[in-house]
Symmetry: C2
Subunit: 111 residues, 2 copies
């Protein structure tokens, strides 16, 4: 029960989404492409991951949604709230810590 979440490496999709949205407002489909480009075609967010995370973040007050209509197609633009920015910082720190620790084990170098 309760929040005590851990899971070594969880939350990376969320991190990437928050990071990209912190630069500029984007809509889902655009976001998916942006992840591919920004990661050098190495990572790709499937829609089965993307949309649930987006909705979860919005429900949690980390994202603000705005609906637009461009040439007949519905788009939902997302941008960070203050809370989202805080969440980004927390996840970012966590990622750096964990990735750094893994690299320390792998490389032998220790902080």
């Amino acid at each position: 029960m309760s929040g005590g979440n851990s899971a070594f490496m969880a939350g990376v999709p969320e991190l990437l989404i928050l990071k990209l949205l912190s630069a500029r407002e984007m809509y889902g489909y655009e976001l998916a492409k942006a992840v591919q480009v920004a990661s050098g075609e190495t990572l790709s967010l499937g829609e089965g991951v993307l949309y649930p995370v987006l909705h979860g973040l919005e429900a949690g007050g980390a994202l603000r949604a705005r609906t637009g209509l461009v040439s007949g197609r519905r788009r939902i633009y997302y941008s960070l709230t203050v809370r989202g920015r805080r969440r980004l910082q927390a996840l970012s720190r966590r990622w750096q810590q964990v990735a750094g620790a893994v690299d320390a084990v792998m490389g032998g170098a220790h902080a």
Copy 2:
């Protein structure tokens, strides 16, 4: 079905175990402590993770097990097989790729 494993960041515990065992033979309990030390007390492999992974790796032919008895206590020492070394290299490459891609998104720098 089928092997298609993905999961962004999965397999890190396995990677750490293989890496540490590639340096020297160790037994489970020792391994758990070694992860803590090598990661600067940042990571910690619970026993509920450690032993199942160890058994899985052995079953998959990546590890060789040797039973020892030290002052009444049973210890199971594990060491890498050739297959284990190959598995380590594969997981290691994968980690570098994914971690690098995440850092690329986070940092803006692109290869």
